[in-house]
């Protein structure tokens, strides 16, 4: 056995190794701690792990593109997606700090699972092999099933966990069946080799089409595309809100990154066919997501349907199958991570202590008593509805630009129309905050991590909007 080959390019999976080490450290620290007070150290240890993984990612960035044992790759696209995931995980940890002690005391497992879920997501974003892709998907899915049921005493949380688990396991079976058929069509699990084989007319098209269709179902479930979105509102609403924040940004980034990689590396020759399938799904997803979000009274359900609609926007960028499109998708995911986690952080401040959700009327009159909080929420809502010069505007701009330049102008038009519909329900929250009288006095919950993450997300949303070129420079797309 060749040891040198095994250690060559090991740095490609360094962030994953760091995360795994810290997950074990968290468990160990949880076992060794003497009293409840010391459990405050756990989120700090988790944050340290995430920051270390970020540092490792930044360190790899300056090195030439390399892959490790045909399983993982460290190209610009993977590193960008990894960074977005780590940002989401870090923000979610900040949100969990003051949230958890009120609902459950088993914090060691929680933070270990957050780190392991992050690991699964980053691994999925950099996987170049169908087997690794599937395993990474299972790692973070399994962790998220458990995390969404973390609030054991609340039946809604348990329901969310159960629903997510059953539907998720079902969707995973679609994914693995699709991967198996794709393997049958090409005879290899390496994404790039599949692409080479299929482009040179080897392989087996009759296995290819059902394979692609089944993979599409698996990915569609994870990023909540219509018609595979049924679980989204219930799980987003029932899961503890920090978990919802982590899930919405992290899962989307990981699954979309892997989706892009499969499409661009394994199936670029079939773009004409899957392009249309994705376009139809994108139209359905945007429209159904936005129209349903209009009717939601609960903030978390509204954000859940908005997350469905956002998956549709990102899908628009994937349709043309260009490098520009994949870069636009990644940029959108970056902005989405900040604005959506920020919006959910505001929801946390408005929640009653032992409830998992806040109705929209909880936000009424917020601007009078808590102007800064209302300002932050306004930034997130305006950004989500795509109003310049905030981050969300440029996210949408690049996505629609990629669609138009790829020759899908009608799709971009549908996207813009949808964006206009979505403004209604985002701005309704602002109207409630600024123009309605408070029905009951709301005392927002607060702790250091929450305020910090609110400040960070609001600042990032503004800064990305003011200097988008700064960020597009360091992200890179995939494919030719």
């Amino acid at each position: 056995m060749n040891i040198a080959a095994l250690t060559a390019n090991l740095h490609v999976i360094l962030p994953e190794m760091v995360l795994a080490a810290f997950a074990l450290l968290v468990i160990l620290a949880d076992m060794l701690r003497q009293d409840e007070e010391e459990s405050r150290l756990l989120p700090l240890l988790t944050l340290a792990g995430i920051l270390a993984a970020m540092a490792a990612t930044a360190w790899i960035w300056n090195r030439p593109v390399a892959s490790y044992q045909e399983g993982a790759i460290a190209d610009g696209f993977a590193l960008g997606a990894r960074t977005v995931i780590l940002v989401a995980a870090g923000l979610a940890t900040l949100l969990s700090m003051g949230y958890l002690p009120r609902i459950n005391r088993q914090m060691g497992e929680y933070y270990a699972l957050v780190l392991l879920a992050t690991l699964g997501m980053t691994m999925m974003a950099s996987a170049t092999d169908l087997i690794v892709l599937f395993l990474a998907l299972e790692i973070f899915s399994l962790a998220l099933y458990i995390l969404s049921g973390y609030y054991r005493k609340n039946p809604r949380s348990t329901e969310a966990s159960m629903k997510y688990f059953l539907l998720g396991a079902f969707a995973s079976s679609f994914f693995v069946y699709g991967a198996a058929l794709l393997y049958g069509a090409a005879g290899t699990t390496q994404l790039r080799e599949i692409g080479n084989l299929l482009a040179s007319d080897h392989g087996n098209p009759n296995l290819l089409w059902p394979g692609i269709a089944l993979l599409l179902v698996g990915f569609g479930f994870k990023v909540s595309l219509v018609p595979f979105h049924m679980w989204t509102p219930d799980v987003y609403q029932g899961a503890p809100t920090p978990v919802t924040a982590f899930m919405s940004a992290g899962t989307k980034t990981a699954a979309f990154a892997a989706f892009v990689r499969v499409l661009m590396e394994a199936l670029p020759a079939q773009q004409i066919q899957w392009g249309w399938a994705l376009a139809v799904l994108a139209v359905l997803t945007m429209t159904v997501g936005n129209l349903t979000a209009l009717r939601q009274l609960s903030l978390k359900r509204m954000l859940a349907y908005s997350s469905v609609a956002n998956a549709g926007y990102i899908l628009v960028a994937l349709v043309p199958g260009t490098a520009q499109g994949s870069k636009a998708a990644l940029f959108y995911l970056l902005t989405y991570a900040f604005m959506n986690v920020g919006a959910l952080a505001v929801v946390i401040t408005l929640e009653k202590i032992d409830e998992l959700d806040a109705l929209q009327n909880r936000a009424a009159g917020l601007a009078d008593r808590w102007p800064l909080l209302a300002l932050a929420m306004s930034i997130f809502m305006l950004s989500l509805s795509g109003i310049p010069p905030l981050a969300g505007f440029f996210g949408k701009f690049f996505v629609f630009q990629a669609a138009v330049e790829g020759g899908w102008t009608w799709l971009a038009v549908v996207g813009v129309l949808n964006s206009a519909i979505s403004a209604y329900y985002y701005l309704r929250v602002m109207v409630a905050m600024y123009f309605h009288e408070a029905e009951e006095p709301v005392q927002p919950r607060r702790w250091g991590g929450l305020s910090l993450s609110l400040a960070l997300t609001a600042l990032a949303t503004v800064i990305i909007g003011l200097y988008p070129s700064l960020w597009t420079g360091f992200l890179s797309g995939l494919g030719g």
Binding site: M1, I27, E70, E109, L135, A136, I146, N206, W209, P210
Partner: protein, 172 residues
């Protein structure tokens, strides 16, 4: 014109019997009213898969299947069910009002898949595989070289499952 009935070879007959047995057991796992019976049918289905592995001359996988799935996992499931009183007695119906539509959907899916698979030009003759100890050694070698990322990922997946199980099972 007389219809030509293809005479199956012995291998084909064995395969057909084992495949039908596996599928029937799999179906019973899902529709059985008693969870304990489901677990026993699961053993049957796993055994059927092991038999198909033997038929494909993949003895190592067959042995692994019997040892790991039947010997360890299925036994554990049976024990877990036997130790949980509510589950032993429970005779809940696994069907609900959408089972008809579900069956229809599954049938459509099956037919669609069959239509594709019928058109696949399957190779007439399988590639010859060297049958000796080096096969298993090669498998082990692959696990720690080409597939080392996947191999480690499986370990992490198991850890997530373990932590999750502890969290769910521990007293509130």
């Amino acid at each position: 014109m007389p219809i030509e009935i293809p005479i199956p070879t012995v291998t084909q007959v064995i395969f057909l019997v084992m495949a039908l047995f596996t599928a029937a057991c799999g179906l019973m796992v899902v529709i059985s009213r008693n969870l304990f019976h489901s677990a026993l049918f699961l053993v049957g289905a796993l055994f059927g898969v092991a038999a198909i592995f033997v038929l494909l001359e993949a003895e190592f996988l067959a042995v692994g299947q019997v040892l790991v799935y039947i010997g360890a996992i299925a036994t554990l499931i049976v024990f877990a069910i036997m130790l949980t009183r509510g589950m032993m007695r429970g005779r809940t119906s696994p069907m609900n009002h959408v089972s008809g539509r579900g069956a229809l959907g599954a049938l459509v899916f099956f037919v669609a898949l069959l239509a594709f698979l019928k058109k696949v030009p399957w190779p007439e003759q399988a590639q010859a595989i060297p049958v000796d100890e080096s096969l298993i050694a090669g498998l082990g070698d692959k696990f720690v070289t080409t597939y080392v990322v996947a191999f480690e990922a499986v370990g992490l997946l198991l850890m997530v499952a373990l932590i999750g199980a502890v969290m769910l099972a521990r007293d509130r």
